[in-house]
């Protein structure tokens, strides 16, 4: 498109538009929406950007959040421009592994939808300080502005009993839910993978011991174990560190599934030729485990981790509902459902909207997880792939 020296400015230069028109459409939407968030901050929240420079990032929570947002606004647009560049189409044969996975992933519109909105949610997470209309515990007027329905008195999603803005609380609440989700699942996936690798590779009594431990922890339903551990340990812990307790407890009760999956994979991989060859060449055990076996186990782990984030968000909401979540005034989505419970019929928006947001978020993770599963498993033959293949065959003829 670039003529000698001159760059034509068409719609296509806006990041994401090209994908919207030709490539994976929803991914294009993802880039466009992300761009729009950043632009919104740059245009409408310029005052806050300026104010960020007066804050120290480590002094308090507010400063930290503002600097997070600032760095996001600075570094994400170039990233988007890079992602949105026009790429030549993939060759019919000779695609690299990751390109193959990406192509299979792109066949699924729903998976793209999931990815698109997960990215938006995490972007909102980082841009919280700029995007939220007001702070999460600001009470403009606890007497006159309490319990306003959505779209009244300047509240986009209504106000709660202390006149706090529901939208702002949802935005800040996303930080808790999303971070707990990702961190707990990362931790549990790591633990599970390690345990599975060790159990699968070494076998014999280590394997039996570890698998019995897995059975033990699986004997008591997860929620009951979580309740017992949280109710008991909560008293030991200062309110600020509570979120780390919750993440740890969620990780400790969630690694078992991953361990089983990984162990199964390792058991079958252990006897494969490339591992035997490595042994023959004298590679150390650690090297074999981590550099040769582990990467091949990752696919199911990634899938189960993605699906696990959705499940973890649900469990965290349940814990907040029971009062065992992060302490107020920090909002969490589950906690907002609990708070709104008292006003179920009078102020329906206090329970309905956070719940819908939970459903939406978990749905996106489930869609993404399903898409990844279909993309990563080479044995699955995708409907679209068959269609595409038939089309190409017809073309070739």
């Amino acid at each position: 498109m670039a003529e000698s020296g001159k760059i034509k400015l068409t719609w296509n230069t806006f990041p994401g538009i090209w994908q919207l028109r030709e490539g994976p459409r929803l991914l294009g939407l993802m880039i466009v929406l992300a761009w729009m968030q950043c632009l919104y901050c740059l245009v409408f929240r310029f005052d806050r950007i300026i104010a960020t420079f007066g804050m120290s990032p480590f002094a308090n929570r507010e400063g930290f959040q503002h600097w997070q947002a600032l760095l996001t606004v600075v570094f994400v647009p170039p990233l988007l421009a890079f992602l949105g560049r026009k790429t030549p189409p993939l060759p019919r044969y000779g695609k690299s592994n990751w390109a193959l996975v990406r192509e299979r992933f792109n066949y699924s519109g729903t998976a793209q939808f999931g990815l698109c909105f997960i990215v938006q949610l995490y972007l909102v997470f980082f841009l919280a300080a700029y995007l939220a209309p007001m702070g999460f515990d600001t009470q403009p007027d606890a007497v006159m502005l309490r319990l306003k329905p959505p779209l009244e008195a300047g509240y986009l999603l209504g106000s709660d009993r202390y006149s706090r803005d529901v939208l702002s609380r949802l935005i800040y609440g996303s930080r808790i839910s999303l971070s707990i989700g990702i961190l707990a699942v990362s931790l549990s996936a790591t633990i599970g993978t390690l345990v599975g690798l060790i159990a699968g590779y070494y076998g014999s009594w280590i394997d039996t011991l570890l698998m019995r431990l897995v059975d033990l922890l699986l004997s008591v339903p997860r929620l009951v174990l979580l309740l017992v551990m949280l109710a008991l340990f909560k008293a030991h812990v200062d309110p600020e560190w509570l979120i780390y307790l919750i993440i740890s407890v969620l990780a400790v009760t969630g690694w078992m599934g991953t361990a089983r999956i990984v162990r199964g994979e390792v058991l079958s991989l252990r006897e494969r030729d490339f591992v035997q060859a490595g042994r023959a060449l004298g590679f150390g055990q650690i090297r074999l485990i981590f550099r040769h076996i582990a990467p091949n186990c990752l696919a199911p782990v990634i899938v189960s981790a993605t699906l696990g984030v959705g499940g973890t968000i649900l469990v965290e909401a349940a814990l907040s509902f029971l009062g065992l979540g992060v302490a107020p005034p920090v909002p969490t989505w589950g906690g907002m459902v609990t708070d709104g419970k008292e006003y179920l019929t009078k102020a329906w928006w206090l329970t309905t909207i956070p719940g819908l947001l939970i459903v939406f978020t978990v749905t996106c993770f489930n869609l993404l997880g399903d898409g990844l599963r279909d993309a990563l498993d080479p044995k699955v033959v995708l409907h679209k792939q068959v269609e595409h293949g038939l089309e190409e065959e017809a073309e070739a003829e």
Partner: protein, 340 residues
């Protein structure tokens, strides 16, 4: 097969012991004891110490665990530290209620889940399939307590307060029961009677909302699973053969494909019961259903050691049994699998 079952049961018993130790250790790590629950603004602190002694909480942990273990082997689970009731009584009163709720939910889950999943598979990629995929995904991603609250809101609005949203028995029934009991205790003829149909309709009305809240997310899960399982089966060779032989679609689906598709789904049966019983924790709290879920939550929050141990062990038993049942069902239904 018998050796397999016996071995699993033995391992199960050992597991139960380990669960007991685990829970006991966890309870010991808490800085609070059940006596601390008596702390109120107007409760003299000296009485707290006296209560600690009274409840036997000042004995060393090994001694307490040992005593508990010995009693537990004789099926005596002690008394609640909070209310003093014998734990076995508490559990025996609450368990049937939760079982009722769970079994009703379980039946709903499998009937509707399978129906929806099979329907989707048969009409793959049609409009209804796609629509149902989204609907099942929507309900699968839903927290059950939120669904319960939404149902309460909707039903209160629709039924204007005539449909019960709390408890297990309505007032009419309870008052009639009380009047009958009183008359009988004084040797008089009861002034009224309660029909079988009347009683169970009342319970059913109270049961409906909790069962729906408990059952809908798993229905969605089972539907997704049944759909993929059915799709897998439908692409198999023997189905194609059956169709090629000229059998009608209905016969093919219901007589050949369905049975094989249901194999993995049925094995879920054993696994869902303990899951439901713990999931009932939230739903029972909202609807005030007097079952194990509420018992567990209250016991955990009041650090009621005997009750927590007894109920957790009960749940562990259910999980172990459930797994065993699932494995056995798997071998019965699929002759290709054998356990040594």
């Amino acid at each position: 097969m018998t050796t397999f079952i016996v071995r699993r049961l033995l391992i199960g018993v050992i597991l139960l012991g380990c669960v007991a130790v685990l829970l006991f250790v966890l309870q010991e790590l808490s800085p609070y004891t059940a006596a601390d629950l008596y702390i109120r603004p107007d409760f003299p602190p000296v009485a707290i110490d006296q209560i600690t002694k009274q409840l036997g909480l000042d004995r060393p942990p090994i001694e307490r665990f040992g005593k508990w273990l010995w009693a537990a082997c004789q099926f005596n689970f002690g008394r609640s530290l909070h209310s003093g009731e014998p734990v076995s009584e508490m559990v025996l009163t609450a368990l049937p209620n939760t079982l009722l709720l769970s079994v009703v939910a379980l039946v709903m889950i499998f009937v509707f889940g399978v129906l929806v999943g099979v329907f989707q598979a048969v009409k793959q990629y049609s409009t209804s399939d796609v629509g149902l995929t989204f609907v099942t995904l929507f309900f699968y991603s839903m927290p059950s307590f939120w669904l319960a609250l939404m149902l309460v809101m909707i039903v209160s609005w629709l039924a204007g307060g005539q449909w019960p949203i709390f408890g297990m028995h309505g007032d009419e029934i309870q008052i009639k029961l009380s009047a009958i009991q009183e008359a009988l205790s004084h040797g008089r003829a009861p002034p009224t009677s309660i029909g079988f149909f009347e009683y169970w309709t009342d319970v059913g009305q109270h049961l409906l909302l909790p069962a729906i809240s408990l059952g809908i997310p798993p229905i969605a899960g089972v539907a997704r699973y049944a759909r993929s399982s059915m799709l897998e089966v439908v692409t198999q060779d023997y189905v194609r053969t059956a169709r090629a032989k000229g059998l009608s679609n209905r016969v093919v689906i219901f007589r050949h494909a369905l049975r094989n598709a249901l194999i993995p789904v049925i094995t879920l049966l054993g696994l869902y019961l303990p899951f439901l019983m713990s999931g009932a924790v939230l739903v029972e709290s909202i609807f005030g259903w007097p079952g194990m879920g509420r018992l567990i939550v209250d016991a955990i929050f009041t650090m009621d050691f005997p009750v927590v141990m007894a109920t957790s062990l009960l749940l562990a038993v259910l999980v172990i049994l459930g797994n065993l049942v699932a494995d056995i069902l798997y071998t019965t239904v699929d002759p290709r699998i054998r356990y040594g």
